[in-house]
């Protein structure tokens, strides 16, 4: 290697001109043109790809791209024109097949042509912003073949005709359809839409409009819905098989509109087969279908829901206002529970547990349960019945189920304080008569009430249970310390009731028989000895007694009676005949109670331990009573006491109502004062709204009563009217 400096390399242009054959482009083009012909004539096998590629390459290189391109356009166009004519000439069924075949051919040809012209595709075309070869091929096909005046309409009509036939039950060539439709899609989104889809949607709408009209005249609701569902599924399947997926929503909308939306009202209200009929007859499948179909259209579900709601409200209203139903409270409540179960089932099985339907059901129940002012009383009586006997031999879980259902009804009550009053009364009777089926069940319900309403609601109820337990202990203590000396005396069982916790009864006069006075006094002094500062008063209207009686032929029976009844009966130890007046004087029991008591002893078949003259049902002042020597009963123990919870008579009901109203006044006042204390000033409407909100867990206060309480508070100077703004009230500290 020489160590000389390297010489720079230089490239110089040719010094002599390259002679280009003027006929070169034409010659080369002819080769390519010929190749295109051969390709379209299915003669491509004889061609040399490499040679053709090189030719195309050279043309572009030597700046004859334009000639190449325009030649391509012309040649392909002329081939396509011929193809178009042959397609136009095709008869009947063959038309579509011919089109499909020629399209496949064209695609294959196009592929080959593009491969050959790839160099031009990649260089000349982008730089001149011309349409690439493949796309050009599609556009030409579109313009020359598809949009030829004859073919365009014929294609559309043929496709729609096939769809129509398929809808009418014929089997069509789905593969062919798919290919042709795909062709339209490949030609561009707007081609598919304008040449096919929009017409498809139009005729479909007409088709379904007509069909739905026919169906609705001839089918009942259930059948119609089945048909509509079938059609809907058909269309979905059609799309998946041979249409563009983007058509799915569009065609389903058409079906939904024509078959469902247009006839919504008529379907729902159809006589003997509409929604109401489905609900009444528990037709889960049909109503489920209606739900699923109507869900697809705007306002569809609200119609279903509204019809269901108004039907439930009507049914419920009828139930609670039917005088027949009101005679049996337990049955009344059971029917309510059955109604709720029925619709819970329907909503779960047919309406997919739709929350809005649940809410509609709840609000309907809330509406009609409160239409009957005695609902709270009846629900308490239902509970009483269950806890006294209904839940005997029922498993613990089932007990919970029943109690939960009761709680559900309780929640619907607006006047929860009325329920509380009755519940207390009935509970007291159950406890005192020892008539509860299960202590656990009682406790469980109290816990549920506490969870629902707070500690305050149940604190007194719990107090009642405590008293019962304490009394047991007290009795043990009493007999432990005095047992010996009381040997011969009648056995006493005392329940000591704390006044605040138990339902208040005015204590009436009653002279206890001499036989028990002794032991009663001993108990009183025992109790007061251990509990100073308390006062005891016998609640003679709530006690019971077991009497051993011997009748005429020596039959012995044990009579289970109320305290009043005991007082009356004991008198007959010393007299065979007593007039009403004499009994009244001796016992000093209030007249109405005494009359009821004597009625139950003398006028009831099977329990008539006394005989009355005259034999009438009513007790009159000068009636005479005799010990009934001839009394018989199959049972040794005869129950005559009437301390069981019962539906109140009208006057008793009025009385309870009044007491509830009285109890509400201080609660309303307390609420008003609480609110005003924190707000300082507030206008009338807002006070009413706030008070209502605060008390709604217990009852719904009457705005007039609220106003009256406000005025009373103004008079007592807790509040005053604002001097400037007459709508406002002001808190006076």
């Amino acid at each position: 290697m020489s160590s000389q400096r390297k010489k720079n390399f230089q490239i110089e242009a040719f010094k002599h001109r390259v002679v280009v054959d003027p006929k070169y482009p034409e010659k080369t083009w002819k080769i390519l043109e010929h190749a295109i012909h051969e390709i379209y004539n299915h003669n491509a096998s004889g061609l040399s790809f490499e040679e053709l590629y090189r030719n195309a390459y050279n043309m572009v290189l030597h700046k004859f791209g334009e000639k190449l391109y325009s030649g391509l356009v012309t040649t392909v166009t002329s081939h396509l024109s011929e193809i178009s004519k042959s397609i136009e000439a095709a008869q009947g069924e063959v038309f579509l097949e011919e089109l499909n075949r020629k399209w496949a051919d064209h695609n294959k040809a196009l592929q080959m042509i593009r491969d050959i012209l790839m160099y031009m595709d990649r260089t000349f075309i982008p730089s001149t912003h011309k349409t690439p070869v493949h796309e050009l091929g599609l556009n030409l096909w579109r313009d020359v073949v598809i949009h030829s005046s004859k073919t365009q309409t014929r294609l559309r009509d043929t496709l729609l005709e096939l769809v129509y036939r398929e809808r009418n039950g014929e089997v069509i060539n789905r593969g062919l359809m798919r290919n042709v439709i795909k062709m339209l899609m490949d030609l561009g989104c707007s081609v598919y839409q304008e040449d096919f889809e929009q017409h498809f949607l139009e005729v479909s709408a007409d088709f379904y409009r007509l069909e739905s009209q026919q169906f609705i005249e001839s089918c009942d609701c259930g059948d119609y819905l089945k048909k509509a569902e079938r059609r809907l599924n058909e269309e979905m399947e059609r799309v998946s098989h041979y249409l563009d997926t983007r058509s799915l929503d569009k065609i389903t909308n058409v079906v939904e509109k024509e078959m469902i939306e247009s006839h919504m009202h008529r379907l729902v209200h159809m006589e003997n087969s509409g929604l109401v009929n489905m609900l009444v007859n528990d037709k889960y499948e049909d109503s489920g279908r209606m739900y699923n179909l109507f869900r697809r259209v705007p306002a569809g579900l609200s119609i279903v829901r509204d019809v269901m709601t108004s039907y439930i409200r009507d049914t419920g209203k009828q139930l609670v206002t039917d005088p027949e139903r009101l005679r049996d409270p337990v049955d009344f409540v059971q029917r309510l529970l059955d109604l709720k179960d029925k619709y819970d089932q329907i909503i779960s099985l047919a309406f997919g547990n739709d929350k809005t339907f649940q809410n509609a059901l709840n609000s309907s129940f809330e509406y009609f349960i409160n239409l009957n002012a005695r609902s709270p009383e009846f629900i308490s009586l239902f509970v009483d019945d269950k806890l006294r006997k209904g839940l005997r031999d029922v498993s613990e879980e089932d007990v919970e189920v029943v109690l939960d259902k009761v709680m559900m009804l309780f929640r619907y009550l607006q006047e929860k304080d009325v329920f509380e009053k009755y519940y207390k009364q009935h509970l007291a009777k159950r406890l005192l008569a020892g008539k509860t089926v299960s202590d656990d069940a009682e406790r469980s319900l109290i816990v549920k009430l506490k969870t629902e309403c707070g500690y305050q609601f149940t604190s007194k109820l719990e107090g009642m249970f405590t008293d019962m337990k304490t009394s047991q202990d007290t009795m043990h203590g009493f007999y432990a310390s005095h047992g010996a000396e009381l040997g011969d005396n009648p056995t006493l069982a005392v329940q000591v009731l704390t006044t605040g916790s138990w339902p208040t009864q005015p204590s009436a006069t009653c002279n206890l028989p001499a036989e028990i006075l002794g032991v009663c006094e001993k108990f009183r002094s025992y109790y007061l000895g251990t509990h100073t500062g308390r006062r005891l008063s016998w609640q003679t209207n709530m006690g019971t007694a077991d009497l051993k009686a011997t009748f005429g032929k020596g039959q012995k029976h044990e009579l289970n009676v109320s305290t009043y009844q005991m007082c009356a009966l004991m008198l007959f130890n010393n007299a065979n005949r007593l007039s009403y007046k004499e009994i009244e004087q001796a016992t000093e029991i209030p007249a109405s109670d005494l009359k009821r008591c004597l009625q139950s002893l003398a006028c009831v078949k099977g329990k008539n331990v006394l005989r009355k003259e005259p034999m009438s049902k009513e007790i009159a002042e000068d009636d005479a009573f005799f010990f009934n020597d001839k009394f018989t009963s199959k049972l040794y123990k005869v129950k005559i006491g009437t301390v069981v919870a019962q539906r109140e008579s009208e006057p008793e009901n009025q009385e309870t109502r009044q007491r509830v109203e009285e109890d509400r006044k201080p609660q309303i006042e307390a609420a008003i004062v609480r609110i005003m204390k924190s707000r300082r000033t507030l206008d009338h409407n807002n006070i009413v709204a706030e008070v209502t909100k605060q008390l709604q867990a217990r009852f719904l206060p009457n705005p007039v009563v609220i106003k009256k309480r406000i005025e009373s508070l103004i008079e007592r100077e807790f509040l005053e009217r604002d001097k400037n703004d007459r709508k406002m009230y002001r808190y006076l500290a």
């Binding site: 009338h684 409407n685 007039v704 106003k707 009256k708 005025e711 008079e715 007459r726 709508k727």
Partner: protein, 177 residues
């Protein structure tokens, strides 16, 4: 101190009936506390305010006094005074219906003839209220001033009107139909 007898003499001297509303106005001007009596301080106060030192001057001052009382700005004060003046017992807060009716007629009868007559009628026939308190008394005056009569078109029972007026309006509407 002037006692009821003395007041009667005063009235005849002024040639005004002792049940006339102007005597009440006089009492108001004096800020007299006890019905039927004027104590010296009150007497002096009233006469000084009226610029009268003789019975004649007092009599002549009456029309002026009437005008003053009837002015809307002072009437409210007089109206509420009229109620308080009738509370004779120590802790008394309300006046019986009978007396209220008379007082209403005396104090408002000329100004709101129709309303007063009907309200008196209502009070005498209803059973809910046996007495009227200050709040209800003032409420009625507002009622006369603000509510169109006899149409009652702008009365809204949902506002803070005393309940007795709600009932009155209900009674009126029932009567009208």
């Amino acid at each position: 101190m002037i006692d009821p007898e003395g007041i009667e003499t005063l009235c005849s001297d002024m040639e005004v009936d002792h049940t006339d509303v102007r005597i009440l106005m006089l009492a108001w001007k004096m800020k007299a506390e006890k019905q039927g009596y004027f104590i010296l301080e009150e007497w002096r106060r009233g006469l000084k305010a009226l610029r009268a030192d003789t019975i004649n001057k007092l009599k002549k001052a009456l029309p002026e006094l009437e005008k003053e009382v009837k002015r809307p700005s002072t009437f409210v004060d007089f109206y509420s005074y009229a109620f308080r003046y009738c509370l004779t017992e120590e802790k008394q807060k309300s006046i019986d219906i009978e007396s209220i009716c008379e007082l209403l007629d005396l104090v408002l009868g000329s100004q709101f003839h129709a309303q007063v007559n009907l309200f008196i009628q209502y009070l005498k026939t209803q059973n809910d209220y046996k007495v009227i308190n200050m709040d209800q008394w003032m409420g009625f005056y507002r009622f006369c001033n603000e509510i169109s009569f006899p149409e009652l078109s702008n009365y809204d029972p949902n506002l803070a009107w005393p309940l007795i007026l709600d009932n009155f309006v209900e009674w009126l509407k029932a009567k009208q139909s």
